[in-house]
Symmetry: none
DNA sequence: TATGAATGAGCTTTCATTCAT
DNA sequence: TATGAATGAAAGCTCATTCAT
């Protein structure tokens, strides 16, 4: 219905599968069945469209994450951590979300997109950090900041390898080893 | 002297800092001080240039890695593993190589580049796996394949976060926690 | 008014006088007073423009031919044949149409254009054959298919020599000898 | 052996099958296994190469024709004419020569090539005319000039249709009808 | 709101030609 | 004679963006 949303949705799909630079406004129009004028009516220019696409993608990904917070209320740190990790792995294994994650990595590795989205990327990073810090601060063995950053990075790496690998990536097995390893380090 | 090498070098730098799509052949020419015709004399097309650039980059990165093998001869698995991890972290912290690593991540996350380089990427991945498997197969607690893939992914993630983060990333601290954690898991 | 028609018209003229390969899109733009982008807005690429130009040219040439059919209604075969030949010779002698005919021969003799237009050329050929066969089938002495093909070929040759010869080609005299000869063969 | 001849030969083949404009000097080099420098050593430029190619092609085609003259010595006009026509049809049906004929038509229909070769084309045309005139001047019913030109044109047309048609063109049948028709007209 | 014709800059690529060796 | 690196002009084409309707 809402053309603006349709355009954003089409753009996400095309940006993720073809890349931002390789996706022409024309291609987006064809995908939605809308005119070029319509796109430029809703978005000042292609960069602005990219920003809105990024915001939408971040929303979708974090919507899943939002379900963890209430569940975690009142639980001990160890369980909260495992729940969080579980949720993240579940989310990245979700076929429907694969596109969003792929797009996310593209954005972070591509200088031209980084420049356009640096503030939004920063914001996202902060949120991620906060999620982990609020848990790790309750674990005495943990180095709150360093371990948060390490966990985020490690998960990033696993997602990256999983998303851009052939279909037979042993995500489940890796997840288990990863959680085991993390709990060992944190002594919980 | 060798114009072909100069072109490749300029291309690496520009691809890494500006992105492949955003780097025009013209820009490369200007950087080297050579005509457009010369580029197409040495490379069939831009894709072919990208491939040669990728091969050159992989060479440079692995040259560093090659120094680990001889040192590791005859050492126990634990030390060999630590040496390997040390070397990788050293290599990614090397300011001169930052460019190559950044380029590497771009390639892996950008669908258009992936398509052009898929075979070469695959090859590189295999090599990385082999490096880890030959060590982990000597550690009884290790799950040779899964742990190799996990370690590769985790390091990937740390590198990714380090390379594209602001300058104050606590790489050294993370490295230490990471090695500690890994040794804990492997029980060595 | 209609830019698309203007572009086609300019293209016909330039293709015919300069040749397809030698006519740049730029030259067509300059001729019409339009930007390169406009040409590619209306035609997917140069090949597609060539196809539309060919179709338009075939239309113009056959419009003249269409006037023969009604006139021929109910006449004896001999008269119908003479009328048809008359019309064809009249048409090729028409100064305004010379361009179209020249273009037609270029297309047929140039491998690159042939490849692009093979289906349309075939179609045209069929139509020509039909025109002759519907007349020759009423003449007992005629070998319907062979004679049709022969007549078409002969006229083709005369047109070719006339169109690409210096101005003093004796077209009228040849036409008379040709018709005489043809009627002799067919015994009418 | 003779590189110059090899280059000309390769050029004929490529010009005939791909077209002059579409054939790059590079392609010719690759075909012969010779360097670009060698081509420009033997030929001032591409136009000059085209001229030499045309001259060579005319030689090859007329070599066949030369065998008719001695045979015709002392024969009556009718037989000489039939011999000439026979030879021409035989020559165009010769698979090895198809290329040369195709090239010939290309040259005549393509403005850019015409301009480069106009004098040579003219010369060839004169020779053809002479062949026919020396026979027709001995046939009282013939209109020496007009009939020569008509015959040349008709044969041109038949060759054109035959050369650029699919493989099932009824050349032999057409040839017989054509000779019959011609003899009828000339009353011999 | 929406259309799509039009623009113009810039892209990759091709190519005849030159020239130092 | 011959090579092939290098040039530079020009080609076909793409694309974000504008604007009259």
């Amino acid at each position: 219905m809402d053309k603006k949303h349709q355009i954003i949705q089409a753009a996400i799909e095309l940006f993720a599968t073809e890349g931002y630079e390789k996706t022409s406004i024309n291609a987006i129009c064809a995908h939605v069945g809308v005119s070029k004028g319509a796109v430029f009516h809703h978005f000042k220019n292609k960069d602005e469209l990219l920003r809105e696409v990024f915001i939408r993608m971040a929303q979708i990904i974090s919507e899943v994450g939002d379900t963890v917070s209430p569940i975690n209320d009142g639980l001990p740190a160890k369980e909260r951590l495992v729940n969080l990790l579980d949720h993240i792995f579940l989310s990245m294994a979700n076929a429907e979300q694969k596109l969003y994650y792929q797009f996310d990595y593209q954005v972070r590795c591509q200088p031209s997109m980084q420049a356009i989205l640096s503030d939004l990327i920063e914001e996202r990073q902060q949120l991620m950090m906060a999620s982990f810090q609020t848990i790790l601060c309750d674990i005495p063995e943990a180095d709150e900041i360093v371990d948060s950053q390490m966990l985020i990075a490690e998960i990033d790496g696993i997602a990256l390898n999983y998303l851009f690998a052939d279909s037979d990536y042993p995500l489940e097995a890796i997840k288990e080893r990863f959680i085991k390893k993390t709990l060992l380090l944190l002594g919980v």
